[in-house]
């Protein structure tokens, strides 16, 4: 830090040499870039795994892979996408944008920031190495339910240590984000003037610190059950496997909000820009986010309605879950109302954001259907659940990340992308993602179970359609990579304020953003904030 402080006066001085620039970096922008590159690689790996899954499921009967390998693919696809793609992508966006949005020179704890990123490649090397081990990768599902997961080979020890490392990385990242937001805001940037992306990340960071250790505890118990003769979850030794599900989902439900709250923040930045109106109901958005975060701690058992809970428990978790629809509905209402009578333009980030609002809402509705206990007894562990969580995670979280990349790309690189190709990328994704996931609702309602490599011929047609959608989606990372590469190389120069209606501190620095920004705190102009003047 001392050396960096000394070089502050030299404008935009990046460290020379690959190792100094990337391995030893403490710069929030470079670390943000590392996170995003890492997430992109993981999306490609996880996507390839889903390609194997959909290729096998294209026709009934076993065609391509062994059932055990199929199960490895479903398990690893989930772990890679959740912990390797979505979460690091959001942390990368936070690294890039949070200091720029609150007028801070860097993250509060730059060296810890370096560490929290560089743990991740090791964690995933550990996890992915299990694919090449005798006995194969973990294949008991990403939820790691005992006793099934304990019946696998020693790969689960690697998975557990990988999860410990990911947990350490996430917690350090979260601490950093909280410290940055609470300590490093420019004078005048009050908490209730912060951009919504910063707010949602602040709340997400609290969730991370609260629940990642619970997951670490749960997998540690699995480890001792397998190797050290304990019986936490072993029925023969007096343990209870259902208890694992309670502990896991106590982590798991806040985890799904960890993967969606930052998406809410991103969309709340993009929509006002292209509607050229302040965000409608800024405070309501903040409170709704906090409310969703609170509720996430008391709804976990809706993932396990069929384990044989007492009626009172089922009713409580059903009503608590349905309650979440209220703050979420407030958000969707506010996004729509922000667009209402705005002077809308439909640049690519706005298209992804609107697609997010529509498709995430579909995922939200199927979530409400799943919350209804008597209905859930039919839907449990069917493709309906698969369709539901892919609508909220792919068209929700992932679409928001793509929207964010298009939105802030000119700020990061100083170059615009090719609008025509980006729109093609958007419409291609929009069509194929629905071809991929929408038929899965019908498969689930018809009773097709999830996590199976073969199925009744009655499900053949919708599976065929779904697989075609998957192959279409598999092309999108290539498209996206090409568009970004082309933009970086040949794109038109971007202005500091890259979008006509863009507000917020990040648009006051030049494009591309210099290596060091806000070395002296900026003066906050309330009317220049994305959500308008909130001093009233």
């Amino acid at each position: 830090m001392a050396t960096h402080a000394a070089t502050h006066d030299h404008h935009d001085e990046k460290p020379e040499g690959f190792l100094d620039r990337w391995l030893f970096t403490t710069n929030h922008k470079d670390i943000g870039t590392l996170y995003l590159v890492f997430a992109f690689i993981m999306v490609c790996i996880g996507g390839a795994m889903s390609g194997v899954i959909r290729a096998e499921l294209m026709k009934p009967g076993m065609q391509l892979v062994q059932p055990y390998f199929f199960n490895e693919m479903t398990t690893m696809h989930a772990l890679v996408m959740i912990f390797g793609a979505i979460m690091p992508a959001f942390v990368g966006l936070a690294n890039w944008m949070v200091p720029l949005m609150i007028g801070a020179p860097d993250m509060a704890l730059p060296r810890m920031n370096n560490w929290s990123f560089w743990i991740l490649p090791f964690a995933f090397a550990l996890l992915l190495s299990t694919l090449f081990m005798a006995g194969g990768a973990p294949a008991g599902g990403w939820t790691m339910y005992p006793p099934l997961v304990l019946q696998g080979g020693n790969a689960i020890a690697f998975m557990i240590f990988a999860i410990h490392l990911m947990g350490i990385s996430s917690i350090m990242g979260a601490i950093n984000i909280i410290a940055t937001i609470l300590n490093m805001r420019a004078p005048g940037m009050d908490l209730l003037k912060m951009p919504l992306f910063v707010w949602t990340w602040l709340i997400t960071a609290f969730l991370l610190i609260a629940v990642m250790p619970v997951l670490a505890g749960a997998v540690t118990m699995l480890l001792t059950d397998k190797y050290f003769g304990t019986s936490f979850f072993n029925a023969a030794g007096g343990g209870d496997p259902v208890m694992y599900q309670h502990i896991f989902w106590f982590f798991g439900h806040p985890e799904v909000y960890i993967m969606i709250l930052p998406a809410f923040g991103i969309v709340s930045e993009i929509i006002p820009t292209f509607a050229r109106k302040p965000l409608f109901g800024y405070r309501a958005m903040v409170y709704a986010t906090a409310c969703i975060a609170f509720l996430s701690f008391i709804v976990w058992a809706h993932h396990m309605f069929t384990v044989g809970m007492p009626l009172g428990g089922e009713l409580f978790f059903m009503y608590a879950t349905m309650l979440i629809a209220i703050p979420t509905g407030v958000k969707v209402f506010n996004w729509v109302t922000t667009m209402w009578r705005g002077s809308l333009t439909f640049e690519t980030p706005m298209r992804w954001a609107i697609a997010f609002v529509i498709l995430f809402t579909i995922g939200g509705f199927s979530g409400v259907m799943l919350a209804i206990v008597p209905a859930d007894f039919q839907y449990q562990d069917t493709y309906f659940v698969v369709a539901h969580f892919h609508y909220v995670l792919v068209t929700g979280a992932l679409f928001s990340i793509i929207a964010a990349i298009y939105y802030w790309w000119p700020k990061w690189t100083g170059r615009m992308y090719n609008e025509k190709w980006a729109k093609f990328h958007f419409w291609w994704s929009m069509v194929f993602v629905n071809v991929l996931f929408f038929p899965q609702h019908f498969l689930g309602l018809a009773g097709m179970p999830r996590r199976i490599p073969d199925y009744n011929v009655a499900f053949a047609d919708f599976n065929f359609i779904s697989s075609i959608g998957a192959f279409g989606m598999l092309l999108t990372p290539i498209m996206f990579f090409f568009i970004l590469w082309h933009s970086k190389k040949y794109g038109a120069k971007a202005d500091a304020r890259s979008w006509e209606g863009a507000k917020g501190l990040e648009w006051t620095v030049p494009s591309p953003a210099p290596h060091h920004t806000f070395s002296t705190p900026p003066v906050i102009d309330d009317s220049a904030l994305a959500h308008g003047d909130v001093t009233h």
């Binding site: 704890l109 917690i171 610190i209 250790p213 044989g308």
Partner: protein, 195 residues
């Protein structure tokens, strides 16, 4: 008070790290604390008894037999797929008066060619009735070791609490036998030095 803002931020960050790490450590321990919390919530909040051992004699002796009422008790015997045993109740259904001490028998046979230690995990349905079902003696209280081909009659002596809610007419007592590999390994270890 007029400290350098950078210094103030640094001290603030140190405090946040301390608090966050403390919260993280507490939540890690909370994961483990879920084990006792789960039992306490099941027993005292939701009224589901998780069987640990025999009902105390004092409690059971105080029951008065309610001859005016009959409750059907059904028995179910399951074997975990990894355990090569056969296991079934001798009678599938009996009728008892609440408060009346009753003896029921299960038959188990080891159909493999090695000695196996099993452990039966009991469950009472409906779960709201589990508080009123008292086992005085049960093969599920201990591990059961069957030699290759050995069969055994296993007793369970129980009494239904007369305070059983009136709407419950039928109780189901089910057992699932699991192989207790842990106990087998311990037995092998303690036998090895002696032999």
């Amino acid at each position: 008070m007029s400290a350098d803002p950078r210094e103030r931020a640094r001290r603030g960050s140190a405090r946040i790290i301390r608090v966050a790490l403390a919260v993280g450590a507490v939540m890690f321990l909370f994961g483990f604390a879920c084990v006792p919390i789960y039992r306490i919530v099941c027993t005292h909040v939701l009224g589901i008894k998780l069987d640990e051992g025999p009902a105390s004699a004092g409690k059971v002796d105080a029951f008065q037999v309610d001859a005016s009422r009959e409750v059907t008790v059904e028995f179910v015997g399951n074997v975990n797929s990894a355990l090569p045993w056969q296991f079934a109740p001798e009678k599938v259904r009996i009728s008892v008066h609440p408060g009346q001490m009753t003896l029921a028998w299960f038959d188990a046979q080891n159909v493999s060619d090695r000695a196996i230690t099993g452990h039966a995990v009991p469950s009472v349905a409906p779960n709201t009735a589990s508080l009123y079902f008292n086992k005085v003696e049960c093969f599920c209280f201990t591990d059961q070791t069957l030699q290759a081909g050995e069969s055994r009659r296993m007793p369970v002596r129980f009494v239904v609490d007369p305070r059983l809610p009136a709407n419950i007419k039928t109780l189901t007592l089910s057992y699932t036998f699991y192989e207790n590999e842990l106990a087998e390994r311990r037995a092998a270890q303690s036998a090895a030095p002696a032999g």
